[in-house]
Amino acid sequence: MSLLRINGVEARFGGVVALAGVTLDIPEGVIFGLIGPNGAGKTTLINVVSGLVKPTAGSITFGAEAGGPWPIASAVSRGIVRTFQQTRAFLGLTVRENLRIAAVSSPDPACIEELVDACGLAPVLDRVAGDLPYATLRHLGIALALALKPRLLLLDEPAVGLAEEEVERLGALVRRWHAGGITVLLVEHNVRFLMEMSDRVAVLDRGAVLFVGTPAECQDRQEVIDVYLGRRQADAAD
């Protein structure tokens, strides 16, 4: 059964078409990967689903409820929670204060203790977030989102700039929470990470869906390789 249905979503900024009628089904309980070259509209799609940007046309259905997208506050209360590109935390505050903020609208603040353990934050609770190593900061950003007990977690480029073993730790964390019943929509430039993580993959190009399928199918399709994978792999080989 699909958890999130995106119906013909269109977003224009002035003359620029960021999304040209995107229709996608994201089944409940999957990790759904979204790839595409820069400017393909991935982040705009996350912005629309999370309620940060109003689409010029189209709608979304979440669970049994039609009538979306909703403004960001109502989206969060329905269980749609996002992170920002490279994930984001309150850099001027301590980790503890960050978590206190996440607890404000968490339906289950008790879960934060578990998150602190899982994300390796216990030793740094009283450090200022801006002071943390890059990878720990990412974990904090994801912990803030997970504290809200989302049904759908939108991750925008969580692995960018992380070293290999840090990416793996991050993947393990996402899998662990996914196993606990969270559906994940993952936008990521690190193709290998995305293919490893995802149950299904959609390729976006110039605001339109080019392909939807399993990671294996995706890697076989010539047009996908042409627009995206070929170039990315060439980049990665550098």
Partner: protein, 340 residues
Amino acid sequence: MMDPLASSRHGFIRTVAAASAMLVAACAVSLQLNDYYLYVVTIGAIFAVLAVSFDVLLGYTGYLSLAHGALYGLGAYICAVLTARHGLPFWAALPVAGLATGAAGALVALLSFRTRGLYFAVLTLGIGLVGHQLFLVFDQVTGGVGGFVGIPGPEQPAWLPVSPVAYAALLALALLWVTFVAASLFVRSKLGAACLAVREDITLARALGIRVAAARLSAFAFSATFAGLAGALFAAISSFIAPESFTVLGTGFQLVALVVVGGMGTLWGPVVGAILLTALPEALRVASTYSLLAYGVLLLVCVIFAPKGIASLISAAVRRFRGKSKPAPDPARLRREATP
């Protein structure tokens, strides 16, 4: 494992205990002072009330309002009108003045929060100036430029046999204690956490389900309410008020100075700021011609040599004294380093 959210009930109890001890000490010392120094204590405590509640808005929520001089005046005039014209006792007029000023503050906030940053500061500056002008223009109610004369003082209970001047100082200190405890509660509450989120990163706050509008509105209303209470007490104690006490430059900016010089976002820093910048110049008034000049120089020295406020200097000194000589990290530097 340590509970990550134990936003320290112990911490709160410790804060209240420390504040209470300070209150008792301040009252005991005050009772030994002559009338002039009692007056200095009273004014210092009233400005500390303003500064502590203003810190909730400026320090914790990150909005610079210059309308608070006028809000302070509103509380004063409401109390004056209710007690002198309508015969209400002070203790009935005080909460009315606080609540009405809080409501007016909420209205100002609803207008002003459509803007941010410098625009917010200048918009509230405009509102503060309009407020000050209204005190002058509606002279039938306020007495205009000549001031409002004959405000009855707070009724003194028979069991407290101190002079009226000493009673005024005790009342001001007690209001400061109430303000401090209320502000501590506020910043430790969920609303307080939400305000911090608004200050740090408003978009991320929204994405984490923080009700941004409600959080900053309540911070503004909180500070306005206590500004109203401070104004009401000031009116009753002074028995005479005039618009010149409620100007944007005189009072509105003064508040900002108290909080920034004392230390934003600490609650106790602004108390130190109020002592240093209102009480000290009064108490050391040797040559009154030069006292304003000295005030300006003091302000400049403080802001140049203690940019994060006197509170940060004191904290650093305490840390060093306890042997934990690790300096507090500079968030700005860290922020730059965190950016790839």
